[in-house]
């Protein structure tokens, strides 16, 4: 009987222990009320977010429409702009290239020495004409082109001033009584070398038909440099040799052309003299 009660007591204790343990586990589960509350909170959060999403989407659609409208306006304004200039972006780029080339050319001329610049007066005139042509185009009114055009205009004015002040690369000698070419060339202020009489003759061939006959009062140009279209003969040269030079014709057989250009001063095509000035073009 005693053992029976002891057995029952033991079973009860074991049962209680198991139930107690189970209840402890049960306390880690979410209570249903808490679950319902948490679920509603998340639903409310999602709903609020969806409302915000709809509003944002609407704003974004409006912004995109505004962006498209702006693009259209920009394209239209650009088209109007180029129409007003009678040009295009490509045409403008070509115009700027042309201006830059012209500027480089003017700067090159400005760097020349006075005598050299004097010789290139024709080139300065062509540069000026080209500038007027470019500056007169409608595309020159492009706001970015205006300062470039003004800068080139200033450079051109400087160039024209420099040309006006440029000294010719020759002096003028006026023949006096008793002069003859040998005597003139011998003078220190001329060539200080009588053998260069033929240089005076060939350089002033438009005034001297007969080198043995000059007249007082005649003005001869005394050059110390050789121009681009000329060749100064030195000892040992002959027509075919000169014609073969790269800066002349690069072809010795072109000596006939050389002869034609200088027939008035070459008596014998097989005979030319040092210090002669021959035209090569």
């Amino acid at each position: 009987m005693k053992s029976k009660y002891l057995f029952i007591t033991l079973m009860v204790v074991i049962a209680v222990s198991l139930l107690g343990t189970a209840s402890l586990f049960a306390q880690e589960k979410m209570k249903y009320e808490d679950y319902l509350i948490a679920l509603q909170v998340e639903k409310d959060r999602e709903e609020a977010a969806q409302v915000k999403i709809a509003a944002l989407q609407s704003e974004i659609d409006a912004l995109r429409a505004r962006l498209a409208e702006l693009d259209k306006q920009i394209l239209q304004t650009q088209a109007d702009f180029w129409r007003a200039l009678d040009s295009s972006p490509e045409g403008y780029a070509r115009f700027i290239d042309a201006l830059n080339q012209l500027r480089a050319q003017i700067q090159g001329l400005l760097n020349l020495e006075s005598g050299e610049l004097y010789k290139r007066g024709d080139e300065v005139a062509r540069v000026e004409m080209r500038f007027e042509q470019l500056a007169g185009q409608k595309v020159a009114k492009h706001p970015d082109a205006v300062p470039i055009v003004n800068d080139i205009r200033n450079l051109l004015n400087r160039l024209k001033n420099a040309l006006a002040n440029a000294k010719p690369p020759f002096e003028v000698y006026t023949v006096v009584n008793g002069d003859y070419l040998w005597r003139i060339a011998r003078k220190p202020e001329v060539y200080n070398d009588p053998f260069q009489w033929i240089r005076i003759y060939t350089k002033n061939r438009d005034m001297i038909t007969n080198p043995d006959l000059i007249f007082p009062g005649q003005d001869f140009k005394i050059f110390h440099d050789v121009l681009e279209n000329e060749h100064l003969v030195v000892r040992g040269e002959f027509l075919s040799k000169i014609a073969g030079y790269p800066h002349v014709y690069n072809d010795p057989f072109m000596w006939t052309r050389l002869y034609e250009l200088n027939e008035d001063v070459i008596m014998d095509k097989d005979l030319i003299y040092p210090h002669m000035i021959l035209f090569i073009r």
């Binding site: 009987m1 005693k2 009660y5 029952i8 007591t9 009860v12 204790v13 049962a15 209680v16 139930l19 107690g20 189970a22 209840s23 402890l24 049960a26 589960k29 979410m30 209570k31 249903y32 808490d34 679950y35 948490a38 679920l39 998340e42 639903k43 959060r45 999602e46 977010a49 969806q50 915000k52 999403i53 944002l56 989407q57 704003e59 974004i60 912004l63 995109r64 505004r66 962006l67 702006l70 693009d71 306006q73 920009i74 304004t77 650009q78 109007d80 702009f81 129409r83 007003a84 200039l85 009114k141 492009h142 706001p143």
Partner: protein, 87 residues
């Protein structure tokens, strides 16, 4: 003695049984399916908030683009005015 023992056993059993009810109770808990549903709802709410962040970034980008385009348009309009092509 027997009677005492019997009484003791009964009292102990009742006490222990009471304790079980005190600790365990008759509380209802959320099932596994409920908890999964709650998790899914949380994820949906998180995804919606992430979408808000993305849209706000897109909106800010568009506003910046609009500012740039407005400046560009103004520049072209000013240039058009300078060349006398204003409508």
């Amino acid at each position: 003695m027997k009677r005492k023992l019997k009484t003791s056993v009964i009292v102990l059993s009742i006490s222990l049984a009471s304790m079980v009810f005190v600790f365990g109770g008759c509380t209802k808990y959320a099932s596994e399916e409920d908890l999964q549903a709650l998790e899914a709802q949380k994820q949906a709410a998180d995804a919606a908030e992430q979408e808000i962040a993305r849209l706000e970034l897109e909106k800010a980008n568009l506003e910046q683009q609009i500012r740039v385009k407005e400046q560009e348009l103004q520049k072209w309009q000013d240039m058009l005015k300078k060349v006398g092509g204003e409508k």
